[in-house]
Subunit: 217 residues, 2 copies
């Protein structure tokens, strides 16, 4: 499987990169929010666009051929910095800072702003699914059974307001290579969306990861 | 319901805003991709961040208090420009340009890059859910039964590679205010993810929209 890259970094180097790229991604997140909500005059919008295009060109002067993938140290700690939900370097990610418990629980407090809207003032139903897919997958992984999503079912109890939210997930049961996790998103008044998912580490992925493992042993 | 705003705009004014804000959002999308993939030196990254923060401050000098919501003309044509999947002004949206058929079909060809990654080189399972939630909802709406997602079920057949993709959805059946839609995402080799969803226009939303209707009649 492409993209699982063994890149041994010291904790100091990881901290340095976090301090460099985290703020860059956060600045682009803020810019995305501002670009949706701005009401400044046309000339200012056009000038901003031109400056943004110039910055992009400079950042692209030297760049990865493709996506970031997942880099990891030989101790297994991963850096999913391009991930669409938790990626430190990904401005599309809110990002969620997910906490995990080895019994198979994962949870996060997070804020979703204007960029995650579906119905007016509400979180896009698919964004709720995006967040829950990640949370349920992390709960499965925290319990020692990482995997890719096999099935995911969402039940929308009511609209989820944009703003401060809480998400949590836990392992419901494990059947061989299949792990079933359940979870929900809540606002101050309670649960708005519930989810159940089955996570499986497919054979091709298991084999590819074993090959990667051999490659740097 | 907050955010359904009647804002009567001429087709010329809509075209003007599309020409102004569409390119701004696209420039921020490109910047987001570059910020994930850049390998330029630290000083260049830090300089880019500072410039981006300055641009954001200028765009925020005059801005909406909250999210964009959905603006619409009295003929009912809407402008969901902040939408996380199709929003013209939303850099987080790919965005999908969804085509619709009144028999209750919706489809789109789109490209997902580094910002939508989950497993290395693959579309985040939750991003596939996000896209399918929108496509199924648009199919329901195209068939004359718009609604909010009640339930959504995803079946992941295999990993969806980042790159050029196709998505489509259609109405499976209608039961009163409930519309069941089905759909899928495909790459060049075929279907990667299947979805089924039930869409309902809740009572509070129907009443709120009727009130809005009265307000500008």
């Amino acid at each position: 499987m492409v993209g699982y890259v063994h890149e041994e970094l010291s904790s100091e180097e990881i901290s340095r990169q976090e301090g460099l790229y985290g703020p860059l991604a956060q600045a682009v997140r803020e810019l995305a929010d501002a670009s949706i909500r701005t009401e400044v005059d046309d000339a200012s919008v056009a000038a901003a666009r031109e400056e943004i295009e110039a910055i992009t060109a400079r950042l692209r002067a030297q760049q990865l051929d493709g996506s970031y993938g997942i880099r990891f140290n030989s101790d297994g700690t991963g850096r999913p910095w391009g991930n669409a939900v938790v990626g430190l370097r990904n401005p599309v990610a809110p990002p969620l800072e997910i906490r995990r418990d080895p019994v198979g629980k994962a949870w996060a407090d997070f804020r979703l702003g204007a960029a995650y809207e579906g119905p007016p003032g509400l979180v896009h139903g698919g964004v709720a699914a995006l967040v829950l897919d990640q949370l349920l997958g992390e709960a499965a992984g925290a319990g020692g059974k990482p995997g890719m999503t096999g099935t995911l079912t969402l039940r929308y109890r009511r609209g989820t307001p944009l703003g401060d939210l809480h998400g949590e997930a836990s392992i419901d049961r494990v059947e061989g290579i299949k792990t079933c996790a359940v979870g929900s998103i809540s606002d101050a008044e309670g649960v708005t969306v519930e989810a159940e998912g089955v996570f499986i580490l497919p054979k091709w992925a298991r084999e590819a990861m074993e090959k990667q493992q051999e490659r740097f042993e």
